[in-house]
């Protein structure tokens, strides 16, 4: 099949044209272009001179490269993660699989459409990248071409990942959650063993190094002149290794998806449900579940909001047995981190341990919050349940409070999982008790913000897929975007601007409170709380008005 016939692929044409028609895609592309060009303009030299060894250009080049990389991470997986599962639910996948078009053509069409969209996304920032080149100090062969190849590798890898998860998922929100969860693992957790365990040897060292090639961070650091930072924490891989890993993992994801993408994938009976009576439950089952999802439920008591109970019962992930497992996992990790620090296994201070815990908690919030919150209203409207609730005497306020509580309490339980770690930390170093309290307040504000903002997005979305993708984008812009500005502190952003941007991010307030590396100079408490609470209040007002509008007679 030559390149021309590839472009004639009907799936590719439909997917690409369909997405390019969407105003949201054009807004995302325009935003990337504006942000990258603004970053360059801010640092453009006043004097018309070119400096061949300029450090200024690399300092502009770095945030631009990271900004585009984050945009690719945020936007590229969203569409493929919903591509197969949503077509299966709508019934259009079975039509395609029953046509003479072979599955691999369908797959290639979906993959290439998404990759081309990502290429379009980062190509609009090329003028900004070449402007850095014009400033001197970076080269086409040494910096620009490797950067474009890294972006291309990321586009292929994340598109293939999204399609693979989508082919295995039963619901859109589960697919998005798993995709972003695995992405987080690929980008951040893959460098964890090298960073956390320090100097390893033999096979363990080789495996840890191999894992770092899954993350684009070392590759980006290498070509943006920050390789020293990677090497200081023991990472020895670069962009070539990352590209090889991208090719291997893309091929692996593609083969796994094609294996699944057969007409037989629809050949499964509907789960009718099996009820376990309390007396029938074995000890093993009771131990593994703690709260058995198949046990017969009693009626909703009068003192509980029925909408909240319904939300807990209807989502697969939000059910109690999953939460308890996650809380147990979170508690173990947080205690381990503290014990490791206390016993001197790694040379970390309490501040660094606390920073790791804050990052882990924010990771949990950002991974789970948008998919829980974004489904609150959009999926109800989509399923027809909203119409039924409107026809009942329940008040709009009770609907809203039940829905918000179901997400807020879930996220709160996750935060509580790390409390044992903080308690141990306060025991080891009693002087930081006040700081720990402030961190917890910041995290509570972050939880409220994630809940309210994703519910707001949900209230204005027509489908749960769009709501979930938009919620991830909004929250990542708020949490990761402000950290990107922090990354460019000194150059091109001044300290006042960075501090103001960080006030929007409650995670940054928590990190600054614990004097995490890089945050020591910022004083974000209590102004960060006021800003966070103001965002929550504004979001809540918007949400109340929207719910009133959605529930009142037409």
């Amino acid at each position: 099949m030559n390149s021309l016939s590839l472009l004639k692929n009907p799936i590719l044409q439909r997917e690409l044209i369909g997405r390019l028609r969407s105003p949201k895609a054009l807004i995302a592309i325009a935003l990337v272009a504006i942000v990258s060009c603004t970053l360059v303009l801010m640092r453009w030299p006043r004097e018309a001179t070119i400096d061949l060894v300029s450090q200024g250009s690399i300092q502009v080049f770095r945030p631009v490269a990271y900004a585009i990389a984050i945009a690719i991470m945020m936007l590229t997986p969203a569409f493929p993660a919903t591509a197969i599962v949503s077509e299966r639910r709508k019934g259009t996948l079975v039509l395609m699989l029953n046509s003479p078009t072979p599955p691999w053509v369908i797959y290639i069409g979906k993959l290439l459409a998404n990759v081309l969209l990502s290429v379009l996304l980062f190509s609009v920032s090329l003028p900004a990248i070449f402007a850095c080149y014009a400033m001197g100090g970076i080269s086409i062969a040494g910096n620009i071409i490797p950067l474009v190849l890294i972006f291309l590798g990321m586009a292929f890898q994340y598109s293939a990942l999204g399609l693979w998860v989508s082919s295995r998922s039963q619901s859109i929100d589960a697919s998005l959650r798993w995709t972003y969860g695995i992405l987080l693992g690929l980008v951040v957790l893959s460098i964890g063993p090298t960073v956390l365990v320090g100097k390893l040897s033999g096979l363990k060292a080789w495996i840890a190094q191999a894992m770092t090639t899954l993350s684009p961070i070392p590759a980006l650091q290498q070509i943006t002149g920050a390789q020293g930072q990677s090497q200081s924490i023991g990472i020895a891989t670069g962009w070539v290794e990352f590209l090889i890993m991208c090719a291997v993992s893309t091929l692996g994801f593609a083969l796994a998806t094609l294996y699944k993408l057969q007409p037989t994938m629809m050949d499964r009976s509907r789960d009718a449900g099996k009820v376990i009576e309390a007396k029938q439950s074995s000890w093993l089952r009771r131990f593994s579940y703690l709260v058995d999802p198949n046990r017969r439920k009693s009626g909703i008591p009068f003192w509980l909001n029925p909408v909240m109970v319904k939300e807990f019962r209807t989502r697969k992930f939000g059910r109690l047995h999953w939460l308890l497992r996650l809380i147990a996992g979170g508690a173990i990790v947080s205690i381990l981190l503290t014990v490791v620090a206390a016993t001197g296994t790694v040379n970390w201070g309490v501040d660094r341990i606390a920073s790791s815990m804050v990052i882990m908690q924010i990771g949990f919030l950002l991974l789970l919050g948008p998919s829980l919150g974004a489904n609150l209203i959009a999926s109800e409207v989509e399923s027809g349940g909203w119409q039924l609730m409107r026809a009942s005497p329940i008040s709009p306020w009770r609907i809203l409070s039940g829905k918000l509580l179901s997400t807020f309490l879930t996220l709160l339980l996750l935060l509580m999982a790390t409390l044992p770690g903080y308690v141990m930390m306060s025991y080891i170093q009693p002087a930081i008790g006040g700081q720990v309290s402030n961190v917890i307040v910041s995290l509570l504000i972050a939880t409220a913000m994630v809940t309210i903002l994703s519910a707001c997005v949900s209230a204005y979305s027509k489908t749960s897929a769009a709501a979930t993708a938009a919620s991830y984008a909004v929250l990542l812009v708020l949490f990761a975007g402000t950290l990107l500005i922090w990354l460019g502190r000194g150059n091109p952003f001044g300290p006042v601007f960075v501090e103001r941007a960080l006030l929007l991010n409650p995670a940054a307030t928590a990190l600054a409170e614990m004097k995490a590396p890089g945050f020591e100079t910022f004083q974000l408490t209590p102004n960060g709380w006021y800003v966070g609470l103001s965002i929550c209040a504004a979001g809540l007002v918007i949400l109340v008005l929207r719910i009133a509008r959605l529930t009142r007679p037409e």
Partner: protein
């Protein structure tokens, strides 16, 4: 005291320049089943939404048990059980939990809810599926659960949008029996359906709307006689060779307003007429006198579908 439960008076709903419903006036008595008929976009759903308090009329009024639907929407929601055409399924929820949730949002106390759920499940014959996930149910099962849901708060009026849509013949019969059973218990039902013979079998009154206007309203017989005043007659002969001769004889006897159509393959001739029985007997005598071998002379029964088509065809 009037036994009217549902009443609309000059009900009108406009969206900008578009009038979705114009001057609709109908009334339904306690224990009656109203068949609400109309093509897509005729204004049926608009009327239903006003009746259940989800939409406000531009002018006119609608009352249920004397309560104004737009002024007192919260009271209306307790008086009406509404089943939209979309089921409203939730993932990972069993039938029992599903009914428990709707019972709770209708404010049924927890102490009474369990017994009430059992009662509505028995009424709708859904007890055996109480532990099944709602999304795993077939369409017919979901429709039954949908009716169980509308019965939970024991409403006076049930408004069912296309309850027989997509059901197989057996499920349709069961649904018909269930609706008749509910009417016998004193519930007032408003049912929309595209399957008009179904409605004709269960409805006491029918209302036909097209383009937002009420075209006919009354009992099935009243609607039939107002919309189909002409009766159709069919004459069957013993052989096709006599069709031409019969056409010639009838051509001399029938008026221009009684167009004759023939079907040699079926050995029949048909014509609409408003003649009385003695006039028809005379017509038959003329055919026999012409030595035509008449094997059958009978009236063709008109149904609700003919009545609906006679109205829909005018738009």
């Amino acid at each position: 005291m009037s036994d009217t439960v549902v009443e609309t008076t000059n009900l009108t709903k406009s969206y900008g320049d578009f009038t979705a419903l114009s001057d609709l006036s109908i009334h339904v008595n306690r224990g009656q089943i109203l068949g609400f008929i109309g093509p897509n976009g005729a204004g049926k759903t608009t009327t239903i939404k006003i009746l259940v308090g989800l939409s406000k009329p531009t002018s006119g009024s609608a009352t249920i048990a004397g309560v104004d639907c737009s002024q007192n929407a919260s009271k209306i929601k307790r008086l009406v059980g509404y089943m939209p055409d979309k089921f409203g399924s939730y993932d990972n929820m069993r039938v029992h939990e599903y009914l428990d949730f709707f019972g709770a949002i209708f404010g049924i106390p927890a102490s009474q809810r369990k017994a009430r759920i059992q009662e509505v499940m028995e009424t709708t014959s859904t007890t055996y599926m109480q532990d099944r996930y709602v999304e795993s149910l077939s369409h017919g099962m979901q429709q039954r659960v949908g009716i169980a849901r509308t019965l939970l708060h024991d409403p006076e009026v049930l408004i069912l949008d296309e309850p027989a849509n997509g059901l197989d013949p057996k499920a349709r019969i069961e649904m018909r029996q269930l609706l008749l059973q509910l009417a016998a218990r004193g519930k007032t039902l408003i049912v929309t359906s595209h399957i008009l013979p179904e409605l004709a079998r269960i409805c006491n009154v029918v209302a036909i709307v097209t383009a937002g206007k009420l075209r006919a309203f009354g009992t099935v017989d009243e609607v039939m006689s107002s919309l189909c005043p002409q009766r159709s007659y069919e004459i069957q002969l013993a052989s096709a060779s006599h069709i031409a001769q019969a056409e010639k004889v009838l051509g001399q006897l029938l008026l221009d307003s009684e167009p004759l159509t023939s079907s040699p393959a079926e050995l029949t001739l048909r014509f609409p007429t408003v003649r009385t029985e003695p006039e028809l007997a005379e017509l038959l005598n003329q055919l026999v006198a012409a030595k035509l071998p008449v094997t059958q002379f009978r009236e063709l029964t008109s149904d609700l579908e003919d009545a609906f088509l006679s109205v829909a065809g005018k738009d």
